[in-house]
């Protein structure tokens, strides 16, 4: 399997490590912002544990740790292993992130 790192170009899968589904977003909160603790726990439960696990195109995290140490967000078909797109995580490099994190 080969992954086209947007910075380094196409590389062996062995240079990357995999984290999984990039769709769940870490809930944002500040302590004592009045949000219901149970709801917050539920939201984190979803984030940490529940997965769509699609048979088809999936948005997922890869880390080019054996290369430029950038976190990447790829779209890949889990039935064929074909990559549709590979993008850098918002915070890769030094550009000021327009949007907040994933």
């Amino acid at each position: 399997m080969r992954i086209a790192c947007p910075f380094c170009g196409e590389r062996e899968v062995g240079e990357f490590s995999y984290l999984g589904d990039a769709s769940p977003k870490r809930p944002r909160y500040t302590v004592d912002d009045g949000s219901d603790p149970a709801a917050l726990e539920e939201a984190f439960y979803d984030y940490v544990y529940l997965r769509d696990n699609v048979a088809g195109t999936m948005r997922e995290y890869w880390y080019h740790g054996g290369g430029c140490r950038s976190w990447l967000i790829a779209e890949r078909d889990t039935r064929t292993h074909e990559f549709k797109s590979v993008q850098a995580a918002p915070g890769a490099g030094a550009s000021r992130a327009a949007l907040p994190g994933e």
């Binding site: 292993h81 030094a94 907040p100």
Partner: protein
Amino acid sequence: MSGYIESQPLGRTSAKDDAAGNTQATGGTQSHRLRAGGLIDRQAPLGFTFDGKAMTGYAGDTLASALVANGVKLVARSFKYHRPRGIMTAGSEEPSALVEMRTGARREPNTRATTQELYDGLVANSQNRWPSLRRDFMAVNSLLSPIFVAGFYYKTFMWPAKFWEKIYEPMIRRAAGLGKSAEQPDPDHYDKAWAHCDVLVVGAGPTGLSAALAAGRIGARVIVVEEDTQLGGRLLGDGGEIDGMQAGEWVRRAETELEALPNVRVMKRTSLFGVYDGGTYGALERVNDHVPVPGPHQVRQRLWRIIARRSVVAAGSIERPIVFPGNDRPGVMMASAVRTYVNRFAALPGRQVALFTNNDDGWRTVEAIRRAGGEVSVVVDSRGQVPVEYQSVVKASGLRVLSGCVSDVKGGVDGVRGVVVTGADGRRQEVAADCLAVSGGWNPNVGLSCFHRGRPAWRDDIAAFVPGDCPPGMRMVGAAEGTFALGECLRDGHAAGVSAAVDCGFAEDAGSAAEAGDEGYAISPLWQVQAKGKAFVDFQHDVTASDVTLAQREGYESVEHLKRYTTLGMATDQGKTSNINGLAIMAATTGRSIPETGTTIYRSPYSPVAIGAFAGHNRDENFHAWRLAPSHHWAAARGAVFVDVGLWKRAQWYPQPGETDWLQSVSREVTTVRNGVGFCDVSTLGKVDVRGADAGTFLDRVYINAFSSLAVGKARYGLMLREDGIVMDDGTTSRLAEDHYFMTTTTAKAGPVMQHLEFCRQVLWPELDVQLSSATDQWAQFSIAGPRTRELLQALCDPAEDLSNEGFPFMGAREVKLRGGIKARLFRISFSGEMAFEISVPARFGNAMAENLMIAGKPFGVVPYGTEALSVMRIEKGHVAGPELNGTTTADDLGLGKMMSKKKDFIGRIMAGREALAAPDRQVVVGIKPLDRHRRLRSGAHVVPKGEKPGPDTDHGYVTSVCFSPTLNQWLGLGLVTRGRERFGEIVRIYDPLRSEDYEAEICSPVFYDPEGVRQRG
């Protein structure tokens, strides 16, 4: 060698060569070697032995062709019935002629005689027989064959139950298997390499060569892989005419042109075995299998990962057998193989050859045999009429032609004696023959197109499967795609080469394809001859036509069930010659069509690959890379005992003269530190530079405790959780400047923590200005511990440095100057619980620092200590480490719950609050003291309440870490125990049935030594 000129194709031989005496007795033992012709070098005779019998062959021979030339018919025994078997094919699809190559540590089972190049001194033996190939006792299985049908073992060997492991199975295991593997480590070397190209051409027959020439001429980077030792493919066996010249001449010119192109690389002796994602292809190069032993610094085989943007697969096709009784006798050979042995190897498989065919192509064999001086005793064509272009030949030569089928083969271990022909009219007659050439038509080699689970498509006109959807970037051409006319193959190959190159951005300008005739190929399929007797479908696994129908009868109808129930196609040839016949018979039995019946999944490797090749250099001590600490060589010189910790080699302890066991050494190291001073290389700890305006905020979010509030010049212990609330790692982090923190992690988690931090930085909080870099290898870091640490350091540091409690308080961190002018980072932190510092200097000074610490500490009796002493002291202090941070413990389990900040979000905070993680009955860290203080405590022993019977409900935890504390003169341990903190003082049972131990111990606070922490502040 000018083999081609001599080994002419159909009907071009001179009267002289036609003399019946063409085969010669000279050339040593080679009774069936032709006097002239073939791509062999008669000037280079080679000696070899088979089953101890000395024979000779020539350079250019395979083991199989040499055996044919020596008139050897019986080569092997089959897997199940131990039937005598000979050589069936001349290629890598060979199901029968498997031998044990070489001896001793290089013994190699199941090698195909048909692909093994002959070399001088080659030693081969037959396998799966006892005591000898001719007289094999296991042939008794053949008598039991009425019972040993497909799946018989599922129906029996069940009573009495205990007999299975003791009697039945050992019996079966001994009988099963083919050759014997070596029992010593493989002495040969292997390596692996990468190659990159625009166009990968698989197979160098006419189609592949045509494709390679086209793509190469346009300028594409081309790699051609060919499993054979020579280019040419079927041309080597069948000759022919291309661009008005001998096929051999055309091949030679093509090879010369390809070699001249700098952008083309031709790899012979290289088999493509797999197709993987992203245009990755696996290939095996047999670098030195054609010599007795690889030369110095040479590898036996090399595994290639070829990265290609496009591939043109011209893998050719395989001639298929026909299923009829006796079709497995030694001397029954595929017609194309007969032609290959005659034309390429100048070896005559039989002097009196019968031919059984259902298609025109088989007829080419007639001329090959006759030209070689052999007699064609009969041609049996199931179609009932002679193909037009052969009618003149038949008339002229009075060739005996029968319309019908071969319904039995006479013969035994010595091979074929005759064939029984049943005519269309049902009349049976026997015809003498010492070899039967069979042609059931051609199966395109679709395998590679199916390795991404694609399914092939059926074509009625050629009665064969052709490639369906290919993997991305792959195109199948030529015979592999069902095109059999030479001219068409050349044109298709050319076109495929051009379009592949054009896909890679090259201009279309490759001239035109070579030209040759377009003789058609007509077949009317015949799969099975209905007649009495064992008719084999899978030759190696002894699967017969009746096994297939039995499977159907019992409901194992799906082709996958058929395969798994009868083992059809599961032999070392993966059914290359048997699968299609098997499912054709299944189709006939069920009344479904062949495409409806479908094929099994094709699985790589296309041809088997040695495990050693997949490992390459990474075996034995090179299995994984190793990491050495900066003072490694210094420690080694002092006789330190090392241990593998992850990839690191770490000094465990430093034995001294007179010490008889590790415990003595470790206790001495501990005692010296507790009473004087010692040092330990702790450079293996992960070190991360965390820089940037928001570094503090960033650390607040990854640690459970606060770091933005940490003053510059201070260090703090930090704990980080996984997002699921479980402890991930701990360490000390210092603030060296407003915008610069220096983090340390555990040795084991350095990598994962770095990855996690980058995730937080790049994915979770890109708005923060933080930069991370690993400094683990930059620094040689030593822990210096013991009451006299300060004195040692004063000797080492510039006199101007104030190391007093006031000038350098506990948890202080700053840069200092050392005598001799270099700078170091000094941290006043303690893992041992003693007055201690950690000092870092650039890694290049690792050995020097160790030396200097010895010098500076000499007056105070300094010793180096290893990881064992380190561990003893941390246990005495109740500091948690790996065994407690086991991936299932929470901060509170470790007694660190109070560190969790209530004021901020941090990784893991919310999930850590889940009910079961906050439950009062969790197992928490405690201290454990055996009542008998000299009773050795062992990690992994379990904790059971006193007086209770050990069982699931009384299993209250286990011992995580132990040590003998020379300080307290007793064995100590840490453990994870249910409600442990409420149970200090309780006497429990330490239960260790694995080591037959069972004794009592007291649960206590995990901090055994200096609980107030006076010493480290002193």
